[in-house]
Symmetry: C2
Subunit: 177 residues, 2 copies
């Protein structure tokens, strides 16, 4: 079975983890799949790192290292991690493809006003009050994908509709089973 990486990128609170988890749940009966959540991986591999540019890149490259190992063994890896810098994401794609694994950049998009309003973990309120330095979207940049493999708009589409489009994209890439 074919391994590959689908990287869910987007602002905090856009729905990356929610969608990656939901898609994984739909696919797990059909094929090997693993979710790598950015926050969990930071705790497991990168407790030492900050949110500087360099450290964000280091963290993202560590996630990608793990993802490539799993993809090598036929696992579809759904990564839910901001990965805010476009050239870093491009480097991940190039590396993955050099190894022979598909890399799909899935842009989980919602406007900043929407994710601030959702404020799922109360982090935007704290970031806007200046309590959290280097918070993506508020005090740190997010460089949206210019040409993602797929874009879903979580402010406009239902969760189920987003899941279905993502699964269709995975199927078209030969990764849904």
């Amino acid at each position: 079975m074919r391994g590959g990486i689908a990287w869910f990128t987007g602002l905090p609170g856009a729905g990356k983890s929610t969608l990656a988890t939901a898609v994984a749940a739909r696919l797990v009966a059909r094929r090997p799949v693993e979710c790598l959540d950015g926050n969990e991986i930071r705790a497991a591999l990168s407790r030492d790192l900050s949110f500087s540019r360099a450290d964000r890149d280091t963290n993202v490259h560590r996630i990608a290292y793990v993802a490539r190992l799993l993809a090598k063994h036929g696992v579809l890896v759904l990564v839910a991690a901001i990965a805010p810098y476009a050239d870093t994401r491009a480097a991940l794609r190039s590396r993955s493809e050099a190894d022979g694994h598909p890399f799909l950049e899935i842009f989980v998009n919602a406007p900043l006003t929407t994710v601030i309003e959702r404020d799922v973990n109360g982090l935007y309120t704290r970031a806007l009050a200046g309590e959290i330095p280097s918070f993506t979207g508020i005090s740190d940049p997010y460089e949206p994908p210019v040409n993602p493999h797929l874009e879903v708009r979580t402010d406009q589409e239902s969760c189920e509709a987003c899941e279905q489009r993502i699964i269709a994209a995975l199927a078209a890439a030969g990764l849904a089973e």
Copy 2:
């Protein structure tokens, strides 16, 4: 196919990487297998870490995190990393078994005098001259396993004999195919 972890522990230069690589080469046609080499993983995941007790433990836990993910997906993971502290190795075994994956501690043993004489990378010479602080076996401890799953003596047995005994142990644990 059943996943699991075989952790090759021993002094620097005892033959951990050599044996893990050789065993992987023999098994790769029969079943999914992956070698995780301690030095390579340090470069990929732990450039930030030192060789203090705490940092060695952090590094080992990161390796184990990756190994468990692979074992979950049916891969036999051969880890070649010193892991010098006995209670840390015990914690790795407990965690792995709690997840339902076999964890075999393979003691790759050769006397200190032998590995110093081999000095495969010239590191013992430098360590003995005081040029490398915290070097396992010289300026940092190695706590040998008291009850390993298997012990091989690379000063007494040929490489091929060690490989065969390791593969027999893996087969007995249902991990060789």
